[in-house]
């Protein structure tokens, strides 16, 4: 029992340490804004996912003997996620250019993150490999 409690305490301490490191890396995150570094990282992550989506949509439709193919359900998830993510990414990139160094509104970031999560979970579900540089 005590061992389990120690284990839980260590796990909590490690997770708090990770949070601290994340804040050092990305800067302060508030309820209304996020650091430009974090926003840029999300925008770059989205770019890779969008390229993967383009390649996936270029595959032939599944059916018959085709092994590497695009699934209709995946397409239904991917297309709206890329479109909403692209709008948010463009807004973030415009803000990054116009107010250099200023914080980015959290709403744009949240929209982009939601799109990223949808794409990542869809890729995981359908076994899509994400393009890398």
């Amino acid at each position: 029992m005590k061992l389990a409690q120690y284990g839980a305490a260590i796990a909590l301490a490690l997770s708090l340490g990770a949070c601290s490191n994340m804040q050092t890396l990305y800067g302060e995150v508030t309820s209304t804004s996020i650091s430009p570094q974090a926003a840029l990282a999300a925008a770059n992550a989205f770019d890779a996912l969008e390229v993967t989506a383009t390649a996936y949509l270029s595959l032939p439709p599944c059916g018959g003997a085709i092994v590497t193919c695009r699934n209709a359900t995946a397409v239904k998830n991917i297309v709206p996620a890329v479109r909403s993510g692209r709008t948010a990414r463009n807004a973030i990139e415009a803000l990054l250019q116009s107010n250099s160094g200023a914080a980015i509104p959290i709403a744009n970031y949240n929209t982009l993150e939601a799109a990223i999560q949808t794409l990542q979970s869809t890729y995981t579900q359908f076994g899509v490999a994400v393009a890398s540089k």
Binding site: D47, T52, S58, R70, V75, V79, V82, R86, A131, S132
Partner: protein
């Protein structure tokens, strides 16, 4: 053709970090942009996975010191072509159309 394009992209990627130290960097960026204008349609149609490298090059050039305002505008237009490549693929896959993506 795939190998030739991959080699070209690799060379461009290797050159970008050296641009600030090079004389005539603006002219070199012009040539890189001209190359990208030529190959992006081919990449979008035949090798869409390579768009990742293209987007990386565009991003690196935009943030590189020597790029002029005109060149950054050209790079933003090229970036938008990557978005248009997605829309073309989506249309070909039967997804409902939307308004054309704008330059970021």
């Amino acid at each position: 053709m795939e190998i030739a394009i991959t080699t070209l992209l690799t060379l461009i990627e290797a050159m970008i970090p050296e641009l600030p130290a090079l004389g005539g960097a603006t002219a070199i960026i012009d040539k890189i942009i001209a190359s990208l204008i030529s190959i992006i349609p081919i990449i979008a149609n035949l090798f869409p996975a390579m768009l990742t490298s293209v987007k990386g090059i565009i991003s690196a050039l935009q943030s590189s010191g020597p790029a002029t305002a005109d060149q950054i505008a050209q790079l933003q237009a090229l970036d938008a072509q990557c978005d248009q490549a997605f829309e073309a693929a989506a249309a070909a896959a039967g997804a409902p159309a939307t308004t054309a993506p704008s330059a970021s």
